[in-house]
Symmetry: C2
Subunit: 200 residues, 2 copies
């Protein structure tokens, strides 16, 4: 598991059994101090549980028809985001073990969704890219989620969207933030198709 940030000890900050959720706190007492009452945090837990579940539900449905799972989607997503990514980099992003990745990556290669190319600088590397077939599936999954997220974004409005992004970023650990920054930067100049396609 990457991104296991240092978590301070779980001090029982203001456990009162929940009754204080009803007494309105003096909210004006300093704006850098958010009053995160019990109920507010419970709500955050609920929102993340339900929201993430339904966010993934649409793509999961498509994947299930193809005998794939969410892990396959993640590979397609991040390979499509960074064509020519190495196995090691992908492992770092996903935060799983090599064996776990192999179980989804190998079928994807065998079924012609992903191609492996030998690295030019380092021939040990296997540079991963999507095939046209893989791109098509990834796009199909993307569009499904796009519509879902678009609806939520539209309903919430631009200001809310920006807030959503800020909070989600804050929920990420330092390692994930670094990964995200790397992903957000433009891919390192990969004009042509990858070299040395490996048939095997």
């Amino acid at each position: 598991m990457p991104a296991m940030p240092d978590q301070t000890d779980p001090k029982p900050a203001d456990q009162k059994g929940g009754a204080e959720a009803q007494m309105g706190a003096p909210v004006g007492a300093g704006r850098n101090l958010l009053f995160l009452r019990e109920e507010e945090l419970r709500l955050a837990q609920d929102l993340l549980f339900f929201g993430y579940r339904d966010f993934t539900a649409g793509a999961d449905q498509i994947l299930a028809e193809l005998g794939m799972g969410r892990a396959h989607h993640r590979v397609l997503h991040f390979v499509g985001r960074r064509p020519g990514i190495t196995v090691g980099e992908l492992l770092g992003i996903l935060g799983i073990t090599k064996q776990s990745l192999a179980r989804v990556l190998n079928p994807l290669v065998e079924q012609d969704y992903v191609v492996q190319a030998t690295g030019r600088n380092d021939r040990r590397q296997r540079l991963l890219s999507l095939t046209p077939k893989g791109e098509a599936l990834e796009r199909r999954l993307f569009e499904r989620q796009r519509e879902w997220v678009m609806r939520a974004y539209r309903e919430a409005g631009p200001v809310a969207v920006e807030g959503f992004r800020r909070v989600m970023r804050g929920l990420m650990g330092p390692e994930a933030r670094a990964q995200l920054e790397r992903l957000e930067q433009p891919a390192p100049a990969r004009p042509g198709p990858p070299p040395l396609a490996r048939t095997g």
Copy 2:
């Protein structure tokens, strides 16, 4: 994608192609059509993946030490949120099958984290509640996540938090929204301890 959405937002990665976000255009008013470009949606996918993973990481760690998983946490969470909840209601909230629930619920009962009480009106029902031991564990998990979320909330600011909530709500399907509404309403007047504790 420009990163680091600090207080000011200099990045063009907004919902409308970018420029007017800097010009302070009447966002949210005139345009009901948000331009959700490719990269913006990719970012949303990334944020949800990384954010949700790291959000749960802290509690997962505690749970692993006790030989439990995320599913146990969910049961503790929702039972703690609605003491006296029936098995059927819990199934509806979690959206899993009875067998899947049984596999986590039964150990929780056996290990004295959850108690089952026979319903008064309908004696078929098993009203679930947390034992003191269960409440303690739930609170420990809660506090861990609380600190994590609190940090994100503080960094993002109150406005962002509200936006986060709106978007997450929008990501939920209609059924989940109904569940959430039910959860947000005050529990139906459950002053005393549950009746008729079932020893077996």
